[in-house]
Point group: C2
């Protein structure tokens, strides 16, 4: 439960665009008995979304209280403008992942006061109404980006929308939002890509030395490149600004590594700045290693083994803060890394060892 | 079981340096009844390692078959030289994480033919003999780096050592090893650091938008900065060479993002190079997203819940390829991401939903 409780959304919510996001919004709102009306340029998408229970089709009698524009980014501005013009009482929001452009486009329009942008931080590698889920936004941040003209009822409606679908609304200006996603999403994507791109240089069997660090840092580089080309393209100014500062640091590191001019103080200072940066990330994953004990356990790669392990961990009365399953190179066993509260690790190792597991700190 | 079976190590193995790595080698070899002899500049470390069952103390009667030098990198060259000079029949190896420097130092010595370098890809955020474990190397790569003079029995002994402790020996030249670890370990560390260092720029509540991508890419940036300053310092030439090519790509990306000279083809080509790079990483984590279905399940943050989830997954007959536990922002529930074989995801969602879980693709 969050501290904030959603208000009843006051009248029909029209979702325009029945893809993954739009249909998921419909499903989540319907589970709270909100009246949801659906529209899509492709009637087939509406049919699928209706059949999945995401709402009813749009008809001329509908007077939407809130219009959620969930169409592809390239069409979003036009559809928002159309919605503001067509329904003079309706509040309007969108779900595009970069906010300044659409905000500027709306500010010149009649009805700009009825618009507040939004950006749910949720998605899936799949797309379309069949991939939709009422739980897609559960616990995820939903940025809400009012403009200077936005009325308070428009802001409230988008906050209520986020709360209804189980998301955590985070209110910020559109420009601040775009700088934030450059920092927490777009630049990490570029850095992951640049790291993975170097792997083409690997000689012989050298990638056999790969460990969890490489896999973690390059996981998101496996994402769809066309999608990311578009995302980076719509936020180019903010991404470029952060990358230029990355390049400044990179230049300092390269300079400090030069054999003729070694400067370990520069290396230490950049590394330390990164280490302290990780502590700023909210959530347990951002907590420092000293806050948890890590216990390693060998797990055979077959159904039921992880279940037995979790059962035995539960019997020991230990709460798992974090769990990762890593696969051993060339072996039919996985290695589970269980993070538990600091000070509890040794007891868990003993409890698991006494139950026949190969467990160690 | 690996395809390769270890031979009996033919005589006493002397471990010099009873820290985390040395004591873990002792424990692992003792579990195979190998005669292990221990030495350390600090007698207290030997006492602890002996009390943990890692071996017996060195005495003048010992004629080691193999000497494993597991002292800090700065002392390693001198201790290897001393071992080669003191025991004229002994084979010698070391465990330092960068190999060219020690290889060059050994090549000028009498007895160079009895030396083969090694580098176990294992460690822990903890150090010292108390943190040691017989399972530390289980399933992990152990690079073995013979030099031009290395005799085959010296190479065989280090391979046997790796197999005895459960590691996967990977034979490569020392120069190739150092280029490999630059690529798979040292450069990813720098990239993670550079990404995390930018988070100090975050304004207001913007880091509340952080997701799993940021946490994954910056996880290793939380590592000890003094340790990494030393590691980067000992492999500076190879790390610098890779980082210079990273900078070339970064310059291309920054140029392509320039508003006056947008070039989405460059963006697409760098992103695609990264995407294909991830597919080169061995192991299940390197497989592309299309090889697995991902199922999301909400898990209350208390003992026993993950156990129930695993039990129900096992009952459904589904094998878990990978599992991650993510924590929802501001909520007392976690989100488990379960990767299963492609095509099995929907069935698992149904099985878990019917057992009362909130599960979705």
């Amino acid at each position: 439960m969050t501290a904030l409780s959603p208000q009843a959304l006051d009248g029909p919510v029209l979702v325009v665009g029945c893809g993954l996001i739009g249909t998921s919004v419909g499903l989540a709102l319907r589970s709270h008995d909100v009246d949801v009306v659906l529209h899509d340029a492709l009637p087939g998408n509406v049919e699928v979304a209706v059949s999945r229970g995401a709402g009813r089709p749009l008809d001329d009698a509908v007077r939407p209280y809130l219009v959620v524009v969930a169409v592809p980014p390239s069409a979003s501005g036009a559809v928002v403008a159309e919605a503001l013009a067509r329904w003079h009482d309706a509040l309007v929001t969108d779900v595009t992942s970069v906010k300044s452009g659409i905000q500027q486009a709306v500010e010149g329009l009649d009805g700009a006061e009825r618009f507040a942008g939004g950006h749910p931080m949720a998605g899936s590698e799949r797309s379309g109404p069949m991939a939709a889920s009422a739980q897609l936004f559960e616990g995820r941040p939903w940025a809400v980006t009012p403009g200077p003209a936005t009325r308070s009822d428009a802001l409230d409606a988008v906050v209520d929308l986020a709360l209804h679908v189980g998301a955590v609304p985070i209110i910020m200006e559109s420009a601040a939002h775009d700088r934030a996603v450059a920092l927490v999403s777009h630049v990490p994507q570029v850095m992951s890509t640049l790291t993975a791109a170097r792997l083409h240089e690997a000689e012989g069997n050298s990638l056999a030395l790969s460990g969890a660090g490489l896999r973690d840092t390059t996981r998101i580089a496996a994402s769809d490149s066309a999608l990311w080309r578009d995302i980076l393209g719509t936020n180019r100014r903010d991404v470029k600004a952060v990358l230029e500062r990355v390049r400044d640091d990179l230049d300092r590191v390269i300079g400090a590594l030069d054999a003729d001019d070694t400067d370990d103080d520069v290396l230490a200072s950049v590394l330390e700045s990164g280490r302290r940066g990780t502590a700023l990330i909210p959530g347990k994953h951002g907590s420092s290693a000293s806050d948890v004990d890590v216990v390693h356990v060998q797990v055979a790669d077959r159904p039921g083994e992880l279940s037995r392990l979790m059962a035995h961990t539960g019997e020991a009365g230990v709460n798992i803060e974090d769990l990762r399953l890593d696969h051993d190179l060339g072996r039919p066993v996985g290695l589970a890394e269980i993070a538990v509260a600091a000070g509890v690790g040794q007891a868990l190792v003993r409890a698991l060892t006494s139950r026949g597991w190969t467990a160690y700190p």
